[in-house]
Symmetry: C2
Subunit: 255 residues, 2 copies
DNA sequence: CAATCTTTGTGCACGCGTTCACAAAGACAT
DNA sequence: ATGTCTTTGTGAACGCGTGCACAAAGATTG
């Protein structure tokens, strides 16, 4: 994936492994879809397939949260939605600021996924004075000068950086100094932050490079093997059970 | 991080661990910066600091590529840039198509990081007939009907999906059927693909939820500990050596 | 109430990734 | 040429995450 997960040395927060935390949003999404279809209960097998993971892994993940299932039946969808939401802290309101309203920043401001789960775009901030006052996604852009007061006045603890690489560290420092303790970084730079501040990064270029590596390897194997093994590649992988997150993970990883 | 890395069961491709592959782009970026400043050589310690990783990890990563360093001196910057680029397959041209030219798709099309490293936006594709012909980032948008011929004619093997979640699987199937074997997915859905196709996903919402989890935990600890431990949080973590990728994958992780 | 069947929760083993710590290698000075 | 100093490359130990396989728990049926 394109996102990288980045945080400290994986201090197992309250007994819940980092890898499990990274999968909870995946389960939550699948459960929400079931909930909208008014499905009352779901087995670990079904839910695992919907989330694209192994069923044993899913059960172990849920075991860290508690015993929320019923043997012989499965999990109560609504109850599980609530428990995971609570565990992830989505039952409360999280005001978020986006800094750097270029193409990407504007896209993020318009992204519906933000508002859907307790996240509220409290403000859009840009260094360009010409942008000030112009509404993006219905929210007027404010100048960087206001950054500190915006953070303080709205009690913002999560900041999104979508500036050019050169400005990212400076913006990061100001966000942290103003009280932000979690940062989602889209700028292609390594951010240096004080102890206690979480940084996760999303780097599109890195994701593409990783794909290119595998693509190159595939091309090399193909050439080496000739046409002999080509037909074997037609076998369909219908089981989506071996797809990773990394959150993969992914395109997002710990900074 | 916001990206997740998702691919098959980590079949150690040609002896290079998946975790190492995910870090190579990070090293490459740091090395490129050094190269532009005409720095001739760099030690594992310095480069590790620039890339935000542990120096032992960096040396082990490089050892998988070969012995490119000189003991007592360090690594030759230019040589290492070339070796990593070659390993990642960036010495060749990778035509890429972006499907779904909404806010995010347009932002991706304008993203400079794509063109910088061997990636070339071969086409922009959207299902909206009204978009057809309109230029985005200097490239005219083409209708979905043309998808198959575009893939074939340009020899595209990497596709980027930036459509709404509902259309993602269908688009994915068509891309794969047309010959695409690597997909970067920005739609919040689990994609099902045949064996041999790599999928990496970038999910902004998931990254935010992971941050919220840690944020909530921090708030809980703070409340529990009272003001006693508050001053300790002012200790600066200048060493960026313990920042993870994966990252965190990254926000990007294996699908 | 007993038997059967389904599905959870988890003990255990395995493998990957990280980190330490040091020997080997080479540069450099004398 | 010898010795010293720096830095790489890696062997080995450790810890986390994954997946298997099964016992325990509860539903359901007769």
């Amino acid at each position: 994936m394109a996102t990288g997960r980045t945080h400290r040395p994986a201090t197992r927060s309250r007994g819940i492994p980092e890898a499990t935390v990274a999968r909870l949003p995946l389960y939550l999404r699948a459960l929400t879809a079931l909930s909208e279809r008014s499905v009352p209960t779901v087995s670990s097998e079904e839910l695992a397939a919907a989330a694209g993971v192994n069923s044993a892994k899913l059960r172990k993940d849920f075991s860290y949260l508690g015993s929320y299932g019923t043997r012989g039946v499965g999990y109560d969808v609504e109850y599980l939605v609530y428990q995971i939401s609570r565990e992830l802290g989505l039952t409360q309101d999280w005001p978020v600021v986006i800094v750097g309203i270029g193409n990407l920043g504007a896209a993020l401001a318009n992204y519906g996924g933000f508002a859907s789960r307790g996240f509220r775009v409290a403000a859009l901030i840009d260094a360009d004075p010409a942008m000030a006052g112009k509404p993006v996604a219905g929210i007027p852009v404010q100048h960087t000068d206001e950054l500190e007061s915006i953070i303080t006045d709205n009690g913002v603890s999560i900041g999104v950086i979508a500036t050019p690489a050169g400005a990212a560290q400076q913006v990061c420092d100001r966000l942290v100094a103003a009280g932000v303790t979690s940062i989602l970084n889209f700028a292609p730079t390594v951010l240096s932050v004080p102890e206690g501040v979480d940084v996760r990064k999303v780097d599109l270029s890195i994701e593409l490079q990783i794909l290119a590596f595998h693509e190159q390897r595939k091309a090399g194997e193909e050439a080496a093997a000739g046409t002999a093994t080509a037909p074997a590649a037609t076998a369909r992988k219908d089981s989506a059970t071996d797809q990773g997150p990394d959150g993969d993970v992914p395109a997002v990883m710990p900074a």
